[in-house]
Symmetry: C2
């Protein structure tokens, strides 16, 4: 697609269809991708990114939903990126919470996008960053990034956010398990959702104890544990107030810039990496690999010597 | 370290200290790394790799433990690689299940290794593959790879196994949540652990229904749901029998070779990628990046044009 000024102006003005088209181009790596990214870049940096993560079943979508409504009621424009590790055979049909999200997608100034994790190791966090750039350039004040799962690449996505909310529920298993999954390392705010359920106070107390054990962060931020009941809209105002507090803290400490420069560095490394690979694996190299694989599999050649021979 | 024949012979003979040293060299990318990998390669391919994954708290370590004991009692040599997303501040002190594992580590022919996920996005699955190669070359018949978490990079690690066991518990949340985390895509065998707990039959039935909905795999393997109680050693014989069945299926269908060649291809791509990056980012390029980061952050330059300019 040819990227004309008119199309970009529509993106900048927040036109939902133009935003959707721009993210698709960026995500699918079709023609026009680089041009869009290059041309929107100077418009980015204004949106504040909130990561919402935690184990499956913690009610992240419901919380996201409630936060979006609250932000909209305060006059903010909001983008949502939901990372969906859909199975090839579910086809999204079982994703009831995504469907529930559609009602907020109808609100003025709100744009919601689902992104799949399938087949995009490493690439996913870059795609998320770039989709955020589009939303950012489209004038959103806040971008909510909801990730399902607790694995490494989800954690990396969370790190691209300015503030990361980790959502747990009383049933999330004991706090030690949560820490083992690396959640403690990325949380700026803990939310104990569904906090009317049995065991909530105990889990909240354990979390607070664990936070005390943790050495202070580089920027001296103190992680708070908030209780919410997403489905009843309880605790959402308090959660947003805590996000604001963290935002102010990051800005005053200079840590927001530091964090964003670190993300920028990572992005540049990834851009270089992609271009290097693309240039290296021309058709001759690919053919050579095809021709040698069997020999390597049968141990008549080793992959290390082979790689040296083609470089 | 200089890699002499004597050291490698000790690795090949299954000497635990030599194995430990070899994996450390391979993992830490110290001198000697490439030489070890190149020289052990022809000895690999004999061990059968079993991935054990699932959400935190599913009892994977206990199951791994029980499987190792059973395999040893049958005269097999076993290696275990446990992926630990340890927090910097837990320092492993809270990892009770790793400590429990130590008693099987004392058994003859058993070698256990913990590996951290921290700071090694992408690199981790390669490190795991290479540690497996060392264990493989050391004469292990089986290698068990236990991954905590349900995210993308954990799923990628699971894919390096020949047979992947996905462990759930009645409390794992409903099966839809499990599928959302991508577990369904990688399971060759489902295990419902702690199956004496309430709700086990319901979850097992739901899982079976979902398996029926799934289109047949490329190699026509039918996923089974087995019940275990790891802590009471119940269902472990049946689980190993199912692994054997899957192994025979993979071998007869030619799919084992196909799977391993796919992993080999991935490994070669990663080797190339690492070498390209290493060569590209010389000190001049790193200095250039440092000098330009602020300008890019302040939007006076965009990262895409910058990357083009240095390539």
């Amino acid at each position: 697609m040819k990227i004309d000024d008119n199309f970009l102006e529509r993106v900048f003005s927040g036109d939902k269809r133009a935003i959707a088209r721009a993210i698709s181009i960026v995500e699918d790596e079709t023609e026009g991708r680089d041009e869009i990214l290059r041309r929107i870049y100077s418009r980015t940096g204004n949106a504040y990114k909130i990561g919402i993560t935690g184990p499956p079943g913690a009610g992240k979508s419901t919380l996201t939903n409630a936060l979006v409504k609250l932000l909209v009621s305060k006059g903010y424009k909001v983008g949502v990126i939901a990372i969906d590790p859909t199975s090839p055979f579910t086809g999204g049909a079982l994703l009831g919470d995504r469907i529930r999200m559609n009602d907020i997608g109808m609100l003025d100034g709100v744009y919601i996008r689902s992104m799949a994790t399938r087949g995009s190791l490493g690439g996913l966090s870059m795609n998320v960053v770039e989709a955020c750039d589009v939303l950012d350039a489209s004038g959103k004040d806040f971008i909510l990034i909801e990730t399902v799962g607790v694995g490494q690449s989800e954690l990396d996505i969370a790190k691209t956010a300015d503030t990361t909310i980790v959502v747990l529920v009383p049933e999330s298993g004991d706090a030690i398990q949560a820490m083992k999954a690396g959640l403690m390392e990325i949380a700026d705010i803990f939310v104990l959702n569904k906090s009317d359920r049995e065991g909530a106070d105990g889990v909240a107390a354990t979390l607070k104890n664990i936070i005390h054990l943790k050495p202070p962060t580089e920027d001296n931020w103190i992680i708070n544990v908030l209780k919410t009941i997403g489905s009843q809209n309880k605790g959402i105002e308090e959660l947003l107030a805590e996000v604001d507090k963290h935002k102010a803290h990051l800005e005053e400490s200079g840590y927001l810039k530091k964090k964003r420069i670190a993300n920028l560095t990572k992005k540049i490394y990834e851009l270089v990496h992609n271009k290097l690979n693309f240039t290296f694996w021309d058709s001759a190299k690919k053919r050579s690999l095809d021709e040698n694989l069997n020999e390597i599999y049968e141990k008549r050649k080793d992959p290390y010597s082979y790689v040296e021979s083609i470089m």
